[in-house]
């Protein structure tokens, strides 16, 4: 900890420090890991309302005549599913080998404007890749990184109530915003999306307005939540984390993301040929640990058809036992038992279909 490279900060950095957050270096960003107890923060989101600073993620506006055509080729999911203004789509962006460059959310605003939100750690790489494709395909689009925006996620069963109380009149923008839809007014952008398995919103707002917005949300009952609980929440919700559950060396079909790859039409997208010629040998499953201990990333999984590996593991505060996502050989079905090597022991785990938890309810037996 002696090397002092300047960490990047979000517009809410001072607000986190005032609130007593424990700050960590998260991929070069100075971010709150918790504000006290990670487990209490986790429960606050499942039962009430939590606030997350996700300003390290990058909103990216893509504008121009050919934006839909560009995205049709760029990503594995099909943007033609987006027909009404504000609709959102989750997709992977693949390389020619079918490996995942990043996963992202795409919002369709109008035929000359789509907004993408990409991961913090991959933002520069993503932008370079998109600019390269933009030039190669002669699309003539303008790609604008929106570092002038902050992004706050408001998540939990009371999220709508907190947002409405914090910002009276916000329902003029959001109306009856349905899940996976967004609306914009000026520079304020409200999406009913999230990374917790609960109802909630992700709001983009001008950076200078973010501290005031955060304070209003706090006063309306939103609890600040760090990256620690963000990880246990998303894992219970069965949502992949880029860099851990998939990366450029893994294809989406072996990462539990087949549902995001659209091959129903003849659409030519980067990575399609590789996916079509690849033979599936692994599958992504959920694990619930039956013995005592904690599942962690990179632990070896022993099955009757060979070895696999845990990609993300943790202790689930909602289930009070350890859970994981694991990439294991095909042919192992939910309900079967496998073994996980933890230190010098082999512990028993049950294979389950995930998500583990949605809308506050445990879904696996």
């Amino acid at each position: 900890m002696s090397t002092q490279t300047a960490l990047k900060t979000t517009p809410l950095n001072a607000v986190h420090r005032e609130a007593g957050a424990k700050m960590v270096d998260f991929g070069g960003w100075d971010m709150p890991v918790n504000y006290g107890s990670q487990i209490e923060e986790h429960h606050a989101v499942r039962t009430g309302c939590g606030l997350f600073d996700v300003s390290h993620m990058l909103p990216l506006d893509v504008r121009g005549e050919n934006v839909r055509a560009f995205l049709r080729r760029l990503v594995a999911n099909n943007v033609d599913k987006l027909q009404s203004a504000g609709r959102a789509l989750y997709s992977c962006m693949l390389n020619e080998a079918g490996g995942v460059i990043d996963d992202l959310i795409i919002y369709f605003m109008d035929e000359s404007w789509f907004r993408l939100v990409v991961n913090a750690g991959t933002a520069e790489k993503d932008l370079a890749w998109m600019e390269k494709m933009n030039a190669e395909w002669g699309m003539g689009l303008t790609l604008t990184p929106r570092r002038d925006l902050a992004m706050v996620a408001i998540q939990g069963p009371k999220a709508a109530e907190v947002l409405n109380n914090a910002l009276p009149g916000v329902d003029l923008i959001t109306g009856n915003l349905k899940p996976f839809n967004a609306a914009a007014m000026g520079e304020m952008f409200v999406a009913r999306t999230g990374y917790t398995g609960e109802d909630g919103f992700e709001v983009m707002i001008l950076a200078k307005s973010a501290p005031m917005f955060w304070r209003a949300l706090s006063e309306a009952g939103g609890k600040p939540i760090g990256l620690g609980a963000r990880d246990t929440l998303r894992l219970e919700a069965g949502m992949n984390l880029y860099g851990q559950d998939m990366d450029e060396t893994q294809n989406p079909l072996e990462s539990g993301l087949a549902w995001t790859v659209d091959m129903k039409t003849e659409r030519d997208f980067v990575g399609r040929k590789a996916l079509e010629s690849s033979e599936l040998s692994k599958q992504m499953v959920g694990l619930v640990l039956l013995d005592k201990g904690v599942l962690r990333g990179h632990q070896k999984v022993l099955t009757k058809h060979g070895e696999g590996e845990i990609t993300s593991g943790t202790f689930s505060p909602t289930m009070q036992q350890s859970i994981a996502l694991a990439r294991i050989p095909m042919g192992i079905a939910p309900g079967e038992e496998v073994e996980v090597e933890i230190r010098d022991k082999k512990l028993r785990a049950k294979v389950v279909k995930y998500p583990f938890v949605r809308n506050g309810k445990i879904l696996v037996a």
């Binding site: 900890m1 002696s2 107890s37 990670q38 620690g228 005592k292 201990g293 904690v294 943790t314 230190r343």
Partner: protein
Amino acid sequence: MSIPADLKYTPSHEWVRVETDGTLTVGITHHAQDLLGDMVFVESPAVGRVLAKGEECAVVESVKAASDVYAPVAGEVVATNGDTESSPEAINADAYAAWMFKIKPVDAGATAELLDAAAYQKLVESEAH
């Protein structure tokens, strides 16, 4: 939280209390639990196990990470704390009350090599920078 003056410490963040019968009670420090966060699993060494000084002998796991616990001195494990094992969060509540195991040291004088509270305080401060 202040560092109790009546305990001894290791550079790997264990605390040690010398009991009147000469056994040593061992736990992890407040600083260690603060770094790890919410505790969810504790694995103690088996009673009767003979430990070398510095040997990995127990594990504590928080939601965030797993961390080894090392034997502060050479000796035999004579007791473990079932309460801490069944309620790992007790370490977060009071790290100096939630002991993990007791050792009968090979050499009664071995604790002289451990850090006192002032030296441990310095170590914690140096790690903060």
